[in-house]
Subunit: 223 residues, 2 copies
Amino acid sequence: MGKPDEVKLLGIWASPFTRRVEMALKLKGIPYGYLEEDLENKSSLLLALNPIHKKIPVLVHNGKTIIESHVILEYIDETWKHNPILPQDPFHRSMARVFARLVDEQIINVGFISLAKTEKGRESLVEKTRELIKYLEKELAGNDYFGGKTVGFLDLVAGSVIPFCLERAWEGMGVEVITEEMFPEYNKWVKKLNEVEIVVACIPPREKHILHMNKMGEKIRSA
Amino acid sequence: MGKPDEVKLLGIWASPFTRRVEMALKLKGIPYGYLEEDLENKSSLLLALNPIHKKIPVLVHNGKTIIESHVILEYIDETWKHNPILPQDPFHRSMARVFARLVDEQIINVGFISLAKTEKGRESLVEKTRELIKYLEKELAGNDYFGGKTVGFLDLVAGSVIPFCLERAWEGMGVEVITEEMFPEYNKWVKKLNEVEIVVACIPPREKHILHMNKMGEKIRSA
């Protein structure tokens, strides 16, 4: 049987990329140790484990280092096969991966509306964000989650970024981007996500998170 | 047994992202129809199949549309399981995915050295490219291919981009970025790749490709 698995996660409390990895570990019921990093003052462990990108999250499993949140989620799903997070069918897997990239490569970029320096810039970002959310709205139609009846890969990726990160930033700046009228499926999904104990257990504390997002926006804008 | 698979690929002759998908289909021995696209004048089929990104490559398999080259390669590997292109071990799979992202998100960006407007800018891009190629050099040590003894996922991703695209651009502008002395493992790997019939069959014709890369560089620089 060998020794039990040793699993360590290096992350940041406010990082959606870390949050989703914790969600996946909890969904699989994998015990792990968590090490909080400080991006202003990265640990020598982080620099040693991820010399290429020097970024969190980093997963260490029995001495092997896995980086980048999508890659880590795939690794977790391939290593512990119970409670699968990716769909089984290759086509549905490909859709989950494509939409996960849409979230991390596009929605996250336009969604930091607080970074726009002008009112017009903000309006344009709000509009672009809505255009992209429309694709998710369509994917969700008729389903509880992106994964169907249970939380899966795309729920973790999109959930960590949109309702539990971007929407908090928007709330902090008093901008309404996604209304229930505009995106009923999306809003139903967020309510369902909020019922999943394992997801909720990994979300950063609300008020502290909003303050953090406000500060981050200010800092980047004035840089 | 059902009907035979219907596989169509929409792509561009000079696109490394298309080339690697063709290589994967040929490695698996999957018959497919190829449709050459014109990015200046995209076909209505491309726009209909990939309304989100409007980009090639697009794979259509029995009426299902799969986009983005990494996602397509994973789909091909999951759908036709013979001649696997990703390693079987989850950790090695994760490394292949991380390095594939390094190629497409970083090396490709710094590698378009022709886009620098100044001599100093060029030198800096050459240096950055070499820094990144070092990671690949280390991965290759002691192996014929990234996949070990046979061509795999990362060979297709890195091969399509570096020796069979960027190096041609560098040749066209008379810049030597990767010498045999600096990167012996890399150069050994390129020689091995050039021995793989299926890979060679998918590479764009050399002279035409160099001219194309030159023109592309000029066009982007003057935009």
